[in-house]
């Protein structure tokens, strides 16, 4: 028996076993729920970010400084292919690809649709975007070929074309000249992102530059970092190589997809409001239990003070009791939450209506919560802090205790 205080605190907890278990029950309930929903949240945010960025925008883009706000043909970067090549060499990173963007009216034999046409570096594009890998019919662009086009699945359906069919497109070029071409559809991709599938087409960059009279210009150099956490470092490296100017801007994915971070923020805010309410309710439970426990032991505390114990030591005893109770709730809550989450992270999780929502946010139709040390401990940790804070009030009551009056208490 090394520490009598610890033994004392532990046994005190079980003087009213049912009360203690009910309080711990509230903690376990909240902790389990928090572990599960925070894991689910983190899992879906990561997936949302990855799916959205990988499909099209990449992690970082080099653009003309005005292109982000006014995506116009003329806000282009010169010698884009060479710039991309230099960057690949200097950064030692191959997942860097140049693009040019134009609008055109595409016509098949039966239909005409306005579409966004992308000139891409077919060799490097697959390294920055998942689209080339999502070609469901036919194949992706051949880097050496000209007059080939890959289009989105909805667009293909609307134009009533498939691999092998011809499309003509009309648009206006870099110098406001008339741009027209005849291309063969070689592939149809299906990304699941409605906007891309409905209105995007890709051709080889060289061919694009020729048709749209780009004179070597392009609109963006898209960079995909090895991991999303590397983005900030990569941004810094790029800006030393290519300092931003009134012609050149280095754009973080936050700027390219402002909705993404904000949707996460909005979701996070409402989720934390809910978590906070749970935490406050647990704190009330702890406050109730500890205050009762202090009040019913007034006489005992009086004796201890008569024996020469300082109120601070008694207050510490009460805090120690709360800490022990919290630890039990923490351990059991995390274990239970972890088991449930672990199970669902394997079989997946869905609820009615989720599929429709998932499509909107580029998520799969089953969710797989991501267990991480943070997602396991964040919620329960705050519950523990809340519980300890809640027991401060009962603990301070000990400072008001006078030994003889306390000993006289029933």
């Amino acid at each position: 028996m090394a520490d009598v205080s610890l033994v004392l605190a532990w046994r005190n907890l079980w003087r009213h076993g049912r009360r203690t278990w009910l309080t711990i029950g509230a903690m376990i309930f909240s902790n389990t729920l928090l572990v599960f929903s925070i894991s689910l949240q983190f899992g879906s945010y990561d997936m949302m970010i990855d799916n959205t960025l990988q499909a099209y925008s990449g992690h970082i883009q080099l653009q003309h400084a005005r292109y982000l706000d006014e995506p116009k043909m003329r806000y282009a970067l010169p010698d884009i292919d060479a710039s991309a090549q230099t960057l690949r060499k200097e950064l030692g990173l191959s997942s860097i690809s140049a693009r040019a963007v134009g609008f055109a009216l595409a016509s098949s034999h039966e239909r005409s649709y306005g579409l966004q046409i992308l000139g891409v570096d077919a060799e490097h594009e697959p390294l920055v975007s998942t689209l080339p890998g999502l070609v469901k019919q036919g194949r992706y662009l051949d880097p050496a070929a000209v007059e080939e086009i890959v289009i989105g699945s909805v667009l293909a359906r609307n134009l009533k074309v498939g691999p092998g069919d011809e499309l003509t497109f009309l648009g206006s070029g870099f110098d406001d000249s008339f741009a027209a071409g005849v291309v063969t559809v070689v592939g149809v991709f299906e990304s699941g992102v409605a906007d891309l599938d409905r209105s995007m087409a890709q051709v080889n960059l060289g061919y694009f530059q020729e048709i749209f009279a780009m004179q070597g210009h392009g609109h963006s150099i898209v960079i995909r970092a090895a991991h999303i956490d590397d983005v900030d470092q990569l941004m810094a490296d790029i800006s030393t190589l290519k300092p931003a100017s009134d012609k050149l801007a280095i754009r973080h994915w936050d700027e390219l997809q402002p909705g993404l971070r904000q949707a996460i923020q909005a979701d996070m805010t409402s989720a934390w409001f809910m978590y906070l309410v749970l935490i406050v309710l647990v704190a009330f439970s702890v406050l109730n239990t500890q205050l009762m426990s202090v009040l019913e032991r007034t006489r005992e505390f009086g004796t201890m003070m008569a024996l020469g114990l300082q109120p601070s030591r008694l207050a510490r005893l009460v805090m120690l009791e709360t800490a022990l109770m919290t630890s039990v709730g923490l351990a059991l809550g995390i274990t239970l939450g972890c088991l449930i989450t672990w199970y669902l992270s394997h079989v997946g999780f869905s609820y009615p209506g989720m599929e429709e929502m998932a499509v909107k946010f580029n998520l799969p139709d089953r969710m797989y919560p991501a267990i991480s040390p943070v997602s396991l401990t964040l919620g329960p940790g705050i519950v523990a802090i809340g519980s300890l804070l809640a027991s401060i009030y009962p603990a301070t009551r000990l400072y008001l205790l006078l030994p003889i009056e306390a000993m006289r208490a029933a």
Binding site: S112, S172, Q262, A266, F284
Partner: protein
Amino acid sequence: MQGFRLHFVMLLRLSWRNLWRNHRRTYIMLGAISVGVWAMIFMTALMRGMVDDMLNQGIHNLPGHIQIQHPAFLDDPSVVNSIAEPEGELLAALNQPGVKRWATRIKVPAVIASERESRGINLLGVEAEAEADITGLPAQVSEGRFLESNQDQGVVIGAKLAQRLETRLGKRVVVMSQDPDNNISERGFRVVGIYRAEMPGLEEYNVYAARDTLQKLLRIEGRVSQIVIVDQDYRDIESLYRRIEKVTPSTLEIKPWYEIDNYLAAMFNMMDGFVLVWVIIIFLALSFGLVNTLVMAVFERVREIGLIQALGMRPRLIVYQILLESLLLLLIGLAIGNGLAIITVKPLESGLDISMVAEGMAMMGASSMLYPNLTLHDMLLANSVVIILGILTSILPAWRAAHLDPVRALNST
């Protein structure tokens, strides 16, 4: 009856006094119930407001509560899949009272070009005077005017599109699309109005022209893409839907809004589920404290309960007394919680500015102002869940109190 009333008054008095014997515990529990009930209602009002906004936006964007179109149109929104303007029975049904508004529209993909830029767009041919009820667009025109007749020769474009095209009010733009024979048809339009949509994405995409003008341009005189119908309330369109469905020719397809947009339908259906789950979670978190309070209240009074049992009080009355105590606690907590919810939601009803996350909200389909919606239905739901489940949770401690052995109870310390 008299006897029952006397009993009840006595029990009520007993329960009330017992409640305040340990006033600190009662205050803490009241605090917990109030915070819980407040959170239930407050959060629900915010979510309800957001989902209503998403549904309104979504339905304005579809548009309409019910749509009639060519069976292939939703999949392939081409000029080829047009339908004749309504006539006969269908026309008569549409003109019946009960239909708030109906109109025909043309909707085709097109390309719009200024002298500097071109863009792919969604070209809409609308009946000018019906549009206010269908998409609410006329109210969003910030510069110039909306279309004045079905023969209007101008177009109304979004502010963002105007910026992209580097054009402005009064300038000419060229609109290109195809006719049913796949010939390019194009003509110049003057920009007569510029609108600002709550969803920035739409501004870039939707271009409004007069219906008859487009029929001429696309060479589809007398034909339209869709008939859209607006009922009084989107939540309750079943009877109107069935009436119109009966008279819709079988060559046409009729769909209610919730079959056209799965996301909207999912949001609509999920909302009630969400409210229930949220209310129950909060209740469960509260229930531990509630049971705790009752268990302790019984524990402290073991001797006393033994005594009144020994004096001949029926166990049933002891159950009632404890339940009544729990009910009183819940009712006071609910009163405070509801009151708090009302006074915190009311000042926000003029709108909560969440433009910080506007583009995120746009992704979800909601606008950057949040108007909390405190509905009687949601409040009733929260209150009844708390009372019903609260009483159910209290039964066990109450029953245990009533079945104490009087002799042992009297001898316990």
